[in-house]
C-alpha cells in the first residue's frame, strides 16, 4: 500500500471522468470511460481488493465498454453536449 500511488490514481480518475463526460464524440467518450474503469481497477488492486479489481477489469473495462461502443455504432456518434 503506497498512498502516493493512491492519490495520483484518484486525481487521474476525476480527470478521466470529466473528460469522458465533456467529449462530444460518443465513441471517444466510451473509450475514455474504458480508461476510467481501468484506472479504478488499478486502484482496487492497489487497495488489496483483488477480486473486485479482477471483476472490474473484465466487466468495466471489457464488456461495459464493448456494449457501449456497440450501441454508439448502431445509433449516432455525435452528441450535442
Amino acid at each position: 500500500m503506497i498512498w502516493q500511488f493512491d492519490i495520483i490514481i484518484l486525481i487521474f480518475l476525476v480527470i478521466a471522468a470529466i473528460i469522458s463526460l465533456r467529449l462530444k464524440d460518443l465513441l471517444g467518450a466510451s473509450m475514455v470511460f474504458g480508461i476510467y474503469s481501468f484506472l479504478i481497477c488499478l486502484l482496487w488492486a492497489e487497495m488489496g481488493a483483488v477480486d473486485v479489481a479482477f471483476t472490474e477489469a473484465a466487466v468495466g473495462a471489457g464488456v461495459s465498454t464493448v456494449i457501449m461502443i456497440a450501441t454508439v455504432f448502431s445509433t449516432k456518434r455525435r452528441s450535442k453536449d
Binding site: 492519490i7 481488493a49 483483488v50 448502431s74 449516432k76 452528441s79 453536449d81
Partner: protein
C-alpha cells in the same frame, strides 16, 4: 518530496482523501445523470456514479499493512501439518496462526462484486432501451425527443 510536506499530507489529507474523491466522483456522475441531454452521456454518468459508490465501500475495508484476503499457504508451515493432524489440533492451530489484522476485510469486497454485476446489468438494459428509443424517434437527444412528442411538433 520534502519530508515535512509528505508527513503533512499523510496525516491530514490521506485519512479522508478517498472519501473526498468518492464524493466528487459521485457528484460528477449525478450531475451528468440529471443535466446531460444525450441519453448515452446520462448512462456514462450513471456508470461513474455507481463506481464511485463501489470506491467508497472498498475504501471502508482497507487496513494499513494488510494483505489481500486470501490466506497464504506459503507463509505458514502450519497449514501443511493441519491437513494431516486431528480435528481439534487443526482448529487450534489455524486459530492461532490467522491474525485478523493481517488480512483486508473481505465483506466489502463481496458486496461490491454484487454491485458491479448489478451495474453492468443496469447499463446493458438501459442501452437496449436507448436503442429502442433511437429506433422509434431517430435521435438520442432528450430535447429533440420531447420536441417530437409535443402535439405541435412534427411526427
Amino acid at each position: 518530496m520534502d519530508p515535512i510536506i509528505a508527513t503533512f499530507i499523510e496525516e491530514n489529507i490521506v485519512p479522508n482523501f478517498n472519501y473526498w474523491i468518492y464524493v466528487i466522483l459521485m457528484m460528477i456522475g449525478l450531475y451528468a445523470m440529471i443535466t446531460k441531454n444525450n441519453l448515452i452521456k446520462k448512462l456514462i454518468g450513471m456508470a461513474i456514479f455507481q463506481t464511485a459508490i463501489i470506491l467508497f465501500y472498498v475504501s471502508v475495508g482497507v487496513k494499513d499493512a494488510a494483505n489481500i484476503p486470501i490466506i497464504s499457504h506459503h507463509g505458514s508451515e502450519h497449514h501443511q501439518m493441519t491437513d494431516l493432524s486431528s480435528e481439534t489440533d487443526s482448529t487450534k492451530e489455524i486459530h492461532n496462526t490467522i491474525d485478523k489484522d493481517k488480512y483486508a476485510n473481505p465483506l466489502p469486497h463481496v458486496l461490491m462484486l454484487t454491485a458491479i454485476v448489478v451495474g453492468v446489468s443496469t447499463l446493458g438494459l438501459a442501452l437496449a432501451i436507448s436503442q429502442k428509443i433511437y429506433k422509434s424517434f431517430g435521435t438520442l437527444e432528450e430535447d429533440e425527443i420531447l420536441n417530437k412528442l409535443r402535439p405541435g411538433g412534427h411526427d
